[in-house]
Assembly symmetry: C2
Homo-oligomer: 244 residues x 2
DNA sequence: CGGCATCCATTTTGATACTG
DNA sequence: CAGTATCAAAATGGATGCCG
């Protein structure tokens, strides 16, 4: 195998991009943020990747220590991929980038060609949702967004997104649509406004519902990341004065 | 022009990567974080990019509103590129990714092929260095790392990295090497330890020097981003129960 | 089937040369 | 200095084949 292409720069960002800068790589990490996935799950979620490239990416990520292959137990012997600690750190590091994208490039409603999964949006919120307000609380929520369903589980002061179907009962169910979710996460509207406008609807345990909305609200505020007015005061540094 | 390649996913991260996911793009943004640059500055800093690709990238970034072309004043008529507000937000959003890379992929010392610039490291710290401890203080520092020199200016409670050479006097000068800088920013050692070990040396105004080290120290602590023990409790969600 | 490897048509990228 | 033109090499995507 010919040597992997590198930027050959001694820089944290360049080294990070040497590892996860190629096409599809960060999206594979995003997929695994909602729990371990099988090869075919990944291939289905990442429409257009081409199976051979997926295999290559997964191999690279395993070699870098971002994810791990695991064989499932005998009843259903399958391969599953899951993030390592380094991989989960990477997922968290990608959150500001995702928020930046949500803030500036999701104002157009979803187009016909675009695929969509509710967990893509939830996953960036969930990881940092430490339920400091009610540490002991356990709750499970189901989100219906467009035609996609996903689940948020809060327990032990921590939140997880779970993809797929589950048998455990939920405490509350939320209904919304992709444009609304994008607007809320992108900071173009608030949960409260979307709720009163009927663009988000909730049913189930009212107390746990209120708790969730509060939690999401405060999290979104802390992730807003809007730009301040600070500018460079030095227009163009003379990088090499014309002294030839 | 044939349409740009897109992931076609309605997701913040995918949309962000549609804009800045291609090769070199984020590194161009990193370059502009230390102030406006000319075309040839970029080409020189990004060894290997090839001038035609650089021109394409710059055009794309301008079209997306990440940077802006500017013509300099008559004495020295040149083209300069500078980040817009959106571009500066992007630079800030890339910081966690850079820290992740620094933490996990810079433990090997700089290899012979790798280029290096001190501002690549400083720039990720500087933007979030709001000098809350001494709001009124103004200071200018010069960093000598390996063969690279860069400048940090603190004023109005905000820090800027300035590339290139400057005539204004400095308050203090720091000397170190790339391995030490990487270890400090990657969290593998502390500034204090590196200082006592003589791997960082400083001269100049002792008060302002102490102030800088304090500021860097507290900033690094808040950016550590180490992984906690929280795991997914649900091994593999049954994404589609075998009910065929 | 699920989990890849192989082959080939298209795109992207890298390196160099060239121009106003 | 600030790019454009050109061409070879590498990366990607699609389709298909193979094997337990």
């Amino acid at each position: 195998m010919v040597r992997r292409r590198s930027y050959d720069q001694y820089c944290g960002l360049a080294h990070a991009l040497d590892v996860v800068g190629e096409r599809w790589t960060l999206l594979i990490v995003r997929e695994l943020m909602s729990g371990p996935k099988r090869y075919s799950d990944l291939a289905e979620a990442l429409a257009g990747i081409g199976t051979s490239l997926l295999a290559t990416r997964v191999r690279q990520l395993e070699a870098e220590g971002v994810l791990r292959r695991r064989l499932l137990d005998p009843p259903n012997v399958h391969v599953a991929y899951e993030l390592t600690d380094i991989g989960r750190e990477l997922g968290r590091a990608a959150v500001p980038l995702a928020m930046w994208g949500a803030r500036h490039f999701t104002d157009a409603p979803r187009s016909a060609e675009e695929s969509f999964r509710a967990e893509w949006w939830l996953v960036f919120l969930a990881d940092s949702l430490n339920a400091r307000q009610s540490p002991g609380l356990c709750a499970e929520y189901e989100f219906h967004v467009d035609d996609s369903v996903t689940r948020l589980r809060i327990a032990d002061g921590h939140a997880d997104v779970l993809s797929g179907t589950h048998d455990t009962p939920v405490d509350a169910v939320l209904h919304s649509d992709s444009a609304t979710v994008a607007a809320v996460i992108g900071g173009r509207t608030t949960i409260a406004d979307a709720f009163t406008a009927g663009r988000i609807q909730g049913e189930g345990d009212p107390e746990k519902l209120a708790y969730l909305l509060d939690l999401l609200n405060s999290q979104l505020r802390s992730m807003s990341g809007r730009s301040d007015g600070a500018q460079h005061r030095d227009p163009v540094a003379t990088s090499a004065p014309d002294d030839d």
